[in-house]
Amino acid sequence: MSENPLQSQLITSKLIASLAARTTLETPGVLRLEPTVKGFLARLGPAALQRLSNSAGQNGTYRDDGVRVTINDNVAVVHLDIATDIAYTALNVAETVQQRVRGNIGHTGLTVGKVDISILAIEPPPPAKIS
């Protein structure tokens, strides 16, 4: 029997995508992650999504609304599509997102590769809902 432990992948690209999305949305100045067709179909229901290929690609890539994560050789590469608040400086917001996402993914034990950010929209924040 081999003394080498079996390699198991507990940290999936889906988990890292969820972590990156949450970190992004908690960053001041970020309004939202920009939706994709696949994310929309996922909200409609599993049946709609099954018509497309699997969200978790065979090469370790996971895509959801505004976030794409690829894990290869223990290195996580992240791409985020965001909308920012016009009251903030978009480049500063993106840099803060980049740093926070890198920090949080680093805590999982994975090596963090590039974290690319696309600012797709700059808008005033939506009016607060009066409850």
């Binding site: 920009e34 939706p35 994709t36 067709v37 994310g39 929309f40 909200r43 409609l44 992240v78 599509d81 909308a83 920012t84 016009i86 400086t89 978009a90 480049l91 500063n92 993106a94 840099e95 980049q98 740093q99 890198r102 590039k114 974290v115 690319d116 950010i117 696309s118 600012i119 797709l120 929209a121 700059i122 808008e123 005033p124």
Partner: protein, 201 residues
């Protein structure tokens, strides 16, 4: 001989052809062919049934999309458009940051909306050259520490008939020069404003 999978009547006419011309008057052959007439009569009943089903589906509440579905579809469509043209803002070992032309334009339009007497129309943005240091050709005054791509902004506008056009355009230019570093974090670069029309107040 090529294989022909089209279903045909005994007279040789294609059923698909009869189906596609079901709403048209009988042609010369169909006026005398009993097989075509029988097929048309049956297909007409099928046509009426499918039309009735389509009408029923239109008014079936169970088939009505949930509220918000249309909004979600439009959000996806708008996001896909924003993904089209992007401008690189910064790049280092940690990754890249880019911005869509639409996002940049929205900051310019928001700045223009603050200037009375002028309406922003089409906004076109090009990059003259990417700069990685502070050697920007034409840095705006007071923004010497702000670097990035050198933008060439072409903004078309319409103005109110009673304004001082040179003064208003200069005010707009200053607003844009202030708004881009504040809203995006890069220098405004070159701003070409064209007044192409007057609008009625």
């Amino acid at each position: 001989m090529a294989l022909d999978d089209e279903p045909r009547l005994g007279c040789g006419r294609s059923i698909d052809r009869i189906w596609t011309t079901i709403d048209q008057p009988l042609n010369a052959h169909e006026q005398t062919c009993r097989q075509c007439q029988a097929a048309r009569a049956q297909l007409k009943r099928l046509n009426e049934a499918t039309q009735a089903l389509r009408e029923a589906d239109l008014h079936d509440e169970a088939l009505t999309p949930r509220s918000g579905v249309k909004t979600a579809i439009m959000d996806v469509a708008r996001a896909e458009i924003r993904r089209s043209k992007r401008i690189l803002l910064a790049s280092n070992g940690n990754g890249t940051t880019e911005i869509s032309e639409q996002a940049l334009s929205s900051v310019i339009r928001a700045a223009a909306a603050e200037v009375p007497g002028i309406h922003a129309r089409r906004c076109h943005i090009e990059i003259s050259s990417a700069t990685s240091d502070s050697s920007v050709d034409d840095p705006p005054s007071g923004q010497s520490g702000v670097i990035g791509p050198h933008l060439v902004i072409g903004l078309r506008s319409a103005v109110a008939p009673d304004i001082n056009i040179p003064r208003t355009v200069q005010l707009l230019r200053q607003r844009i020069i202030t708004a881009i570093p504040a809203g995006i974090g890069i220098s405004a670069g070159t701003i070409n404003i064209t007044v192409e029309d007057l609008y009625d107040v």
